[in-house]
């Protein structure tokens, strides 16, 4: 008989993963993958639509509807090591776009909601072996 284990202990392997990545886990592993950050309450409806679409493609999102400044929200969710932040303000609502920020990177990219959903759907998949 052969006896095998890969991780050995799943709990310990989780710890190893956290330290290996210093908390910046790959997208497919991140407990929360996207934080949707509307700039103020005028943008809540659009933000909820984004949430809906993300959940449809099995993403693990959260939505931050608190009455806080956008920079505060960005900082808080970066400390929480969330890989993707989706910011939506009036421009985004008007053009049906999202401004995307990735953890650890200063720059932002603005893309159509449709395009982002499509590419995220692929990006968030577990690796094939």
């Amino acid at each position: 008989m052969l006896h095998r284990a890969l991780f050995g202990s799943l709990e310990r392997f989780t710890g190893i993963l956290i330290e290996h990545y210093a908390g910046k886990l790959p997208l497919w592993l991140s407990p929360v993958q996207v934080a949707i950050l509307p700039i103020n309450d005028e943008h809540h409806d659009y933000a909820k639509e984004i949430l809906n679409q993300l959940e449809k493609i099995s993403i693990r999102p959260i939505i931050d509807l608190r009455n806080e400044k956008i920079n505060y929200k960005i900082r808080e969710h970066s400390v929480g090591k969330i890989p993707i932040l989706m910011i939506c303000g009036s421009k985004e609502v008007q053009n049906k776009t999202i401004t995307l920020r990735r953890l650890g990177k200063e720059d932002q990219q603005t893309e159509s909601l449709e395009k982002i959903i499509s590419s995220l759907s692929k990006e968030s998949q577990a690796p094939k072996i």
Partner: protein, 493 residues
């Protein structure tokens, strides 16, 4: 007329006894300048040891791995010298080499402060600069005990008293400072270099007994070069920044509580991460033909006695007492459970290989002092699987498992893997032919993987050889995670 054989096979003949240093000089002047110690017939000794008989000799320099141990051992002495120069009246006890450095335990009323550590380190540099020559003397036991007692070094006296009768009482002098020590040591104290650092102070009981006095343990690290020291310190800093217990808090993943030591309270986010691992594994195992099962956590002691766990594992097992007066134990391993499933219904060779997997939660009563976050717990989930197969199938299955493990590690971002192969121990079950076959199977799996491996001779379990999979993380630390173990014993039981 000793004949000295060097590592390259060359022989040097001497008319009279000769020291290691003289041999080094005869080989080359540059070697004699780099020489730190001597290896005589496999044993390490001081460089100025006299060789009287025919011997196999190796001159140890900084290029040898053993040099690091020498540096660290001498550094411990230098630390003790510095402490006693700065804080007279402090008694010395024991100062061994440990992983990445050394420590020395001191008996002193006043606690050492962080400022004191800085002063001691500075003094150590001064002592290194003095570069006192190191000499060794062998003393009479009674003389040694009285000598240290008169100096006020009662711990040293006690240690000498407990040295077995047939062992030499070896005393090393660095200048006027001296210590009881087996050695060997560097020719002079300056040779340790300056790539060391004192790390921290902690409490430690004399002789490890909590009924004894609490001593003060100064920890230090020591390396061959400043570059090595800096790299070590940098890695330590990095490790602290990414300590999973800290991140577990800031990322809201899990917590622990005193009411259940070594058992994880998974918060929603942490559990989502955990379940992603399980889902991924589950899918890959399904694709590889495994059947996932689930077995009881609480099983009668009778079964554990049959499997041998009761005898070997008892101190780690949680047991229950129930009104029906049976003794149950909470499983520390999943194996016996899987065998019960396998034994149900008649199996023919056509059913093999049969692969049963389980995400089984096991519980082991580890000592509380050893518990550490998620890394060392009392309750954990094993991604356990047993492959029931014929002797002919062992090779193919071993190759498959090895490939699966390496592919999955890669998927998680671990590319730097090494394998540790352990073969038959002296005490074992099963006849040699089965061991031959199993070892051959594992070695074939290793060769097919094309991954670096080391052989730990005789370190296999009594019931079979094994391969351990070690992955290296982003800051160069090694973690042994995967195992592929051949079990020649359990199905029979």
């Amino acid at each position: 007329m000793p004949i000295v054989q060097l590592p390259d096979g060359k022989e040097l003949t001497y008319k009279n006894s000769v020291t290691g240093l003289e041999i080094a000089k005869d080989i080359s002047i540059s070697l004699s300048k780099k020489a730190l110690a001597l290896q005589v017939n496999g044993e390490y000794k001081d460089l100025d040891t006299e060789i009287v008989k025919d011997s196999k000799i190796k001159i140890i320099t900084l290029e040898d791995e053993y040099a690091l141990e020498l540096l660290r051992h001498d550094a411990a002495h230098v630390c003790a010298m510095a402490v006693q120069e700065l804080f007279p009246g402090t008694q010395v006890t024991i100062g061994p080499v440990i992983e990445n450095g050394f420590y020395y335990d001191f008996a002193r009323e006043e606690p050492f402060t962080d400022d004191d550590l800085i002063k001691i380190e500075k003094k150590m540099i001064e002592i290194v600069d003095r570069n006192d020559k190191t000499t060794r003397e062998v003393w009479d036991r009674k003389k040694a005990i009285n000598h240290f007692k008169n100096m006020g070094e009662h711990y040293k006296a006690e240690i000498i008293d407990s040295i077995p009768g047939n062992e030499d009482i070896s005393i090393y002098f660095h200048g006027s400072w001296h210590d009881l020590c087996r050695g060997p040591h560097l020719p002079s104290i300056g040779r340790i270099g300056k790539s060391f650092k004192l790390m921290k102070v902690a409490g430690a009981y004399w002789r490890g007994d909590s009924n004894n006095v609490m001593l003060q343990r100064i920890y230090g690290t020591c390396w061959k070069t400043k570059k090595d020291l800096d790299e070590y310190l940098h890695n330590l800093e990095e490790a602290e920044k990414r300590d999973h217990r800290k991140l577990g808090k800031t990322m809201d993943l899990f917590h622990f509580q005193e009411e259940s030591p070594g058992a994880v309270f998974w918060h929603q986010k942490g559990w989502a991460l955990f379940q992603t691992l399980v889902d991924f594994m589950r899918q890959k195992q399904l694709e590889a033909g495994y059947q996932e099962v689930n077995t009881p956590e609480i099983i009668d002691r009778v079964l554990w006695e049959k499997s041998g766990h009761w005898e070997k594992f008892q101190e780690y097992m949680y047991t229950t007492s129930t009104p029906d007066e049976r003794t149950f134990a909470i499983k520390p391993m999943n194996c016996p459970g899987h065998c019960q499933i396998y034994n149900q219904g008649l199996k023919s060779y056509k059913d093999l290989p049969l692969k049963l997997s389980e995400f089984g939660k096991v519980h082991r009563y580890e000592p509380s002092g050893s518990l550490h976050g998620l890394m060392r717990v009392r309750s954990f989930t094993q991604d356990d699987a047993h492959i029931f197969c014929t002797e002919d199938q062992i090779t193919k299955e071993s190759v498959k498992v090895t490939k699966l493990i390496l592919d999955i590690y890669k998927a998680f971002g671990f590319e730097n893997i090494t394998l540790k192969y352990a073969d038959r121990p002296a005490k074992r079950v099963g006849d040699d032919s089965v061991w031959d076959q199993s070892e051959k199977a594992l070695l074939e799996a290793i060769k097919a993987s094309k991954v670096d491996y080391t052989i730990n001779k005789g370190e296999g379990a009594f019931y079979g050889p094994k391969i351990e999979f070690v992955l290296r993380d982003a800051i160069g630390r090694d973690w042994q995670c995967g195992t592929l173990q051949v079990d020649l014993n359990l199905p029979g039981r």
